[in-house]
Structure formats: C-alpha cells, structure tokens
Symmetry: C3
Subunit: 345 residues, 3 copies
Amino acid sequence: MAADQDPQQASHCAADLAAQFGLELRGDGTRVVRGVAPLSSASEGDLAFLANSKYTSQLATTGASVVVVRDSDAAAFNGTALIAKDPYAAFAKISALFEAVPAFEAGIHPTAVIDASASVDPGAMIGPLVVVGARAVVGVGARIEAHCFIGEDCVVGANSTLMPRVTLVTRVRIGERVRIHSGAVLGAAGFGLAMENGSWLNVPQLGGVVVGNDCEIGANTTIDRGAMGDTVLGDDVRLDNQIQIGHNVRIGDHTAMAGCAAVAGSATIGRYCLIGGGAGVLGHLSVCDKVTITAMSLVTHSIREPGEYSSGTPLMDNGEWRKSAARFKSLDRIARQLNRIDRDE
Amino acid sequence: MAADQDPQQASHCAADLAAQFGLELRGDGTRVVRGVAPLSSASEGDLAFLANSKYTSQLATTGASVVVVRDSDAAAFNGTALIAKDPYAAFAKISALFEAVPAFEAGIHPTAVIDASASVDPGAMIGPLVVVGARAVVGVGARIEAHCFIGEDCVVGANSTLMPRVTLVTRVRIGERVRIHSGAVLGAAGFGLAMENGSWLNVPQLGGVVVGNDCEIGANTTIDRGAMGDTVLGDDVRLDNQIQIGHNVRIGDHTAMAGCAAVAGSATIGRYCLIGGGAGVLGHLSVCDKVTITAMSLVTHSIREPGEYSSGTPLMDNGEWRKSAARFKSLDRIARQLNRIDRDE
Amino acid sequence: MAADQDPQQASHCAADLAAQFGLELRGDGTRVVRGVAPLSSASEGDLAFLANSKYTSQLATTGASVVVVRDSDAAAFNGTALIAKDPYAAFAKISALFEAVPAFEAGIHPTAVIDASASVDPGAMIGPLVVVGARAVVGVGARIEAHCFIGEDCVVGANSTLMPRVTLVTRVRIGERVRIHSGAVLGAAGFGLAMENGSWLNVPQLGGVVVGNDCEIGANTTIDRGAMGDTVLGDDVRLDNQIQIGHNVRIGDHTAMAGCAAVAGSATIGRYCLIGGGAGVLGHLSVCDKVTITAMSLVTHSIREPGEYSSGTPLMDNGEWRKSAARFKSLDRIARQLNRIDRDE
C-alpha cells in the first residue's frame, strides 16, 4: 500500500464523498475532510453527523467542515452538508475511509505451528505463534492474527478475521466475513453434568459450534459447543464482549447482544432481537423474533410476543432503597392486608 | 490408536452396551448404535435417553434405535430399551464411547519454553508454545495443550488437563484429574487495596490457589490467589465459564456454579451447593452446605439453612414493569399509608 | 538476588520494622517476624493487623508475634505492637517485604517476535513468545511477561507490568507503573453498529485507549477503544477481574471497580467512585465524584450527588420470594387500590 493511501493521512472533498456514497451535497463541495469527530468537539477538517434531532442545536456551533444530516434537519445548518436518509449509517460507511487497517500479507509466519493434516489456503494470512490443529481448514482471505489457536476439525471461512489470541477449541465452523475479537473462546465443552453416587459425572459434549456469515464476536466472549448437535449462530449475529453462550443455544439472524449478556444451555433466541448488557436468558427457553430485553434483566419464561421486556428495580439512594427493599420482603402480607381492608370497608 | 477404534466411527450393539454398563436389556440386543441424539430428533443408529417423565410421549415417536429409560417409563416404549435407575447418568457414561479424544503423546513439543528448574514428568504431554516457569511441577499423564502458561511454583497433578491457553500465574496447585478450559486464569493477584493519602496502595497477595481432585473450571473463569493463605476449591467442584472467584474464597466439595457467577473475597461456600448463572455472593459471607441460589440472585447475608434462595423481580412487559418499578420507589410510604388506614378503620 | 534476600525467607525484628515504617513500637523490639497471617490463625513468627475494632477480642487469643494496631485498640493487647494511624495501610507496606517478586532481567527473550519498527527500551524485559507490533513502544523498566501481545501503535510506559497473556490490540497507551493482569484485552474494536436495509453495518472504531499512571487492570477485563477519540482511564484507577469498559468511557482518578462490573459506551465516571461487583452503568450517563454503587445495581440515570446508590431486592427464601415477586407484578394496582380506599375512607 502506497504511503499516500494511508487512511490516517487520507483527505476527501465533500463533492467526492457525495458522489462516492450517493448522497446529496448542500454547500461547498471543495471543503476537505481529513478525519471524523463528534459534532460537539469537531474542528476544521472533521466530518461529523447528526442522527438524533435532539442535538440539532449543536449544528449552529459545530466546527465540523462537513456534516452528514437528515433532510429534515438540514435547514438548521449553514455549513456544508451531506444529506442522508440514515445519517448514522452513511457516516459509518464514510468513516471507514479513515480506518487504519493493518496490512494483509498472505502466507504463514515462520513461528506458526501448523498440523500436517490442516489445510490453509495460500491466500490466507497466519500470524506469529498461531497453532492450527489436525484437519482444520482456513479459507482464502482469512486473517488469523498472532497467538490464535484453531483446534481440530475447525473451519474458518473466507475473508474472516481472528484478532490476536482467539481460541477455537474443536469442531467450530466459522462462516465468511466473520470477525472474532481477542480472548474469545469458541467450542469449549459445554457444562453438562449428571450426579451419580454423590459425585458429578461429565456428560460428553459431542457437538460443535456453527457461526454463520457476517457475524461479530466480542473480546473474551465464550460460546460452548453442543452436547448432541451444535450450538448455532445465524448470519449477521453481533455479540459484544464477555458474553456467555451455553451449549446448544441457537441465535437467529441479525440479533445483537450487549456486553456481559448470557444465554444458558439449549435456549433459542429469535431474529432481530436486542439483548441488553448483563441480561440473562435461562436454559431451554424460547424467545421469539424482535424481542428487546433491557439491561440486566433475567428472562425466566419463554417469550412469544415481540416487544420490550424488563425486570429489576430502579436505582435509588441507598437509604431509601433499604426501606423499599425491606417492604418488598413483606409484599404478600401487605397485599393481603389491603384486600382484607377492602373487603371490610 | 487404530483407525477402527476411532470413536466417531464406533458402533456398539444394545446387548454389548447392557453388559458393559450393567443395565437391563429389553428388546432386540442386536440393534446397533453409532451415535447419540435427543429423543425428539434421533434416527436409525442413535442412542437416546428419557430422564424426565414429562417427555414420555416422545417415546412413541422417536426414531432412536435404542433408548435408555427408567423402569417406570419403559412400558411406554415399544423399541429396544436399556433400563437404568438414573438414565441421564447411564447415558453420560455410554456416550463417552462416541467422544473423539485427541491423541495423547507424552513429551514436550519443541516450541515449548521450559524453565531449567521446572519438573515435567516424562509421562506428561506439553503442547506447542507452552511456557513452564521456575520450580513448576507437571505430573504424569497431565495434558498441557498449546499456549498454556504454568507460572512459578505451580503444580499440575497427575492426569489433569489444561485446554489450550490456560494461565496459572503463580503458586497454583492443581489436583488430579482436573480439567481447566481455555482462557481461564488462576492465581492472579487478588484485588486488595488500602487507601492512604488519597491514593490506593496495593496489598501484597502472598497466598496461592489450591484446587482439589476431579474439579472442572470453565473457559475464561478467573480464580485469584489468596492475600494471606490460599484460595481453596475442594474436590469435584464444577465451575462453568466466566466465573469470578475472589481471593481467599473457599468452595466445598461437589459444589457446582453456572456461568458468570461471582464470589467476592473471603466468602465460604459449602458442599453440594448449586449457584445459578450470574449469581453473586458478597465478601466474607458463609453459605452452608446444600444451598441453591437461583440465577442472578445476590447473596447479601450468610446462609445457615440448606434450601433455595432468590432475589430480583419477575420479567414483565416493559410498560407494566415501569409502573411497578415506579411504585417500588415509594413502597415504604405505601406500607405506612396502609398501616395508618388499618389503624383508623 | 542473593539467596539470603529471598523474601520468602526474610525475617525482620519488630524494632527494625518500627524504624523502617515510622511506627511506634510497644513491647519487645526483638520479636522476629518471618511472614504474615490473619489475627485469628497467626502463630509464632507471624505479623498480623487489626483494622476493624469489631475484632478487638481476637487480640487476646492471637498467636501473632507482632500486631499492627491503632493506638485506641492497643490497650486490649498484651503482646508486641506496632502503632499505626491506619493499620491496614501500614500492614500492606510491611507485608511487601515478604512478597516473592520474580526476577527482572532486562532484554528480549529469543522466542519473542518484535516488529522491526517497534521500539523496546534496553531496560525493558520482554518474556517468551511475546509479540510486539509495528511502531509499538515499550519503556524502561517495563516487564512484559510471556504470551503478551502489544499491537500496532501501542505504548507501554516506564516500569509498567503486563502479566502473562495480556493483549493490547491497537492504539493503547499505558502510563507508568501500571499493572495489567492475565487475559485482559485492551483496545478491541468497540461495539458500534448501524442498521441498514435489515443488516448491521460496522461503525469503524478509530480511537484508542489511554490508561493513566499507577492503574491496575484485572484478569480477563476488557476495555474497548474509542469510536472517535479515546477511551480514557485517569491515574490510580483500579479495576478488578472480568470488568467490561465500553468505547469512549471515561473513568476518573482513584476510582475502583469490583469484579464483573460493566460500563457501557460513552459513560463518564467521576473520581473516587466505588463501583460494586457486577454493577452496571448504562451508556452516555454521567456519574459524579465520590459515588458508591452497591453490588449488582444498575445505574439507569446520571448521578449528580455524591452518595451510595442501590437497586435490586433482598435475598429471600425462594418460597417467600415467589410470593413477593408475584405481588411486584401488580404493584401499581395495589397502590391505586390503596389510594381509592384512602379517598373513600
């Protein structure tokens, strides 16, 4: 890659951006953009965006050279604008111009340890100190960064990326254009136990993990392999950091889960669900499509209607909270006392 | 291992299974089993099991060749059955016949880095890119997979397995037949802080971690070493993924904890406890034997009676939840209002 | 280091400790201390401390040779005492005499893989199988343990320690005297998504992570890099294990967070805050200085007053809890029923 193409040095004029991304230009097409910034802190040379009309007032004071904005908000801005139906999505695509992507160099680093029975496409990149196990397959265009472990019978699809120190334990099959972040562990044995004569017995975990195309899996997230059959993520599933997915879970296409969420074994999550940070789903439950679970809620029964669901109590001053919490313990008595009065009255 | 012994190719007839596992055979002893599957999706060649009488109706329609079943449920099944007192435990043992266990080859991989003062038994297996530190000891039959780190003064007992990328930081002593999953970190410095003149001071963490025999420790689980004395897990303790165990915690024999549970420093958990997913135990508390904590509950006081304990509120439609949550904030006022009316009446 | 300086063999007399740490000695200055232990289990040769007057009765029975104690508690002790204004802080400093710190040997282990454009100070220590990427800088006195990954454009300040298997993905700048524990991942791409035509679009994460001086970051903790601008930790920030910090979060000086806490994207936490284990802070919120959040509470709105805040319900016997939980669902109806009666009366 030539030095003048370094994305951190890139500059683009507003007219070129409009043409490249199919946006309408309003104002001075010669304005130059060299980076991106939030509206509130942007200065000369920055591209910013307005997606939420609540912040329209920031348009009057922003130092941004160019702003991506909805047609309906554009009137509030005197500067150079790019008009987009969805300013956030348009901004996301433009800002990729300024992303420094490390060089891709096909080939196997000399310190990598590759099993003789593994199959690595000549168009894949294997970084330093990577281990690839027996019968594993790495597809064309795959980027396997340093310290990754690709265990026996795993498959990494074309153009997928394993960031440094990802572990695929065994029988993990990754689709195309998937990105897995550092510290993630896929394919560890699920937590299957039977009690016999007062001691635990391991239930063999014979299945694998299947991840569809275009998924993202966050740092230090864990996805266990199935006991019988596989743990399955559909296409375009997006998992944030430190998520735990139990064995034989199934997650539908386009579902996104925020950090520290957890899904217990054999639960099924639908398509286009949004699972909030730290939320939990108990085992063997079903959650239908288009369900939103708010942060740190616990799903204790199957959900059959799309919508938003919550559990928990509001944040309070600790002194006040202690009073409410103490009353919670006698809530049933309170309700019965009330019903008695109501009847007596 | 000869190719015809590959467990993924294994086949066993029902009569042989009955004899090998001490089960009663009913039906056709020549039926052949080549794998395992759930009752509902099993087909020709599969072994299935029925542990929960709730699903007895599936016996009529299953395609399984052989089913492991309790005597009392067997009448509902026309096919070939293996009668077990505990069908799940019997199934767990049989299904191990179909588990592909990677080859064990004693010896040290040439890319491993072993300190001159470490002691590795010739009957242990040390995988690629493993680091073994000063004075560490690895016992006979231990399997140390790729990318593991065994720090100074650590001990791995006989026949224990460290899956790829396990870290034993320092002074971690692992018993026999223990299995630790990828990404787990044992023996990091506990979180000990003292405030002095407005800044934090580290409290040295001088202890270690002791793990008994037959334990299992999940992927990305962390167990800190003790401040003074050790953090201690008994025998047959089973920890799922992403569990956090603080310094000087003690966990009794046969206790099992589900994913994302956390135990704060110096807490003591008894024997045969079941700690649900995402549950928390505050520091310095004691939990007696045979306590069950439901998922995402917080243990805020010591527990002295066996039983099941919970905290939290039920999952609700978000609109309804908002109303209840708002009322929770004035629960004390509501209770006092009620008591006043009750007195006035 | 000479063998007689091995901290595990160290011995110190009470008078020397008093002089070295500026404490008042009461009793026999020739008493010898060879290690530390809790008051309740200490024996001959141990130093113990009493910080909480609740445990004063243990002074009568402790076997400790020397006890660090507040002046006001000293009367209850007949043995040799070191008088400290803050016994816990004084004890922390003394006990460092007994900490075994692995040898520091400047230089680069032959198995490390260092990019030609990286800059490693000759006074830094780079352990086995470490990878250092393009343009990374490692300062004097830095200790980089085995299996660490220091990605492109990362900086590790002077005298900082990366324990085994830490990952700095890219654009992570670590201050001086910072300690990062095993399995931590800093600088992974934040979770930024835009929905377009029914599919998720990645929002490039162009920023980095900045960690101030004297911070501590726990095992398997994750800190994502900023989307625009950086994720920032101030000085002396203390993070326990398995904490998740989203992109563009800012955490003020001297704030400490217990295990499994999580802060969502773009939230700002003040100085001297204490965030309890498993607590959560939603995105884009502000928490002012000197706020305590109790364990497993969820911060759902910005906090502008110092103090202690909580959410959740108390732990109860499961049978009782079920009754309260069921009533919680109709709390709004209960409150309205009560108000109606109150009016009618």
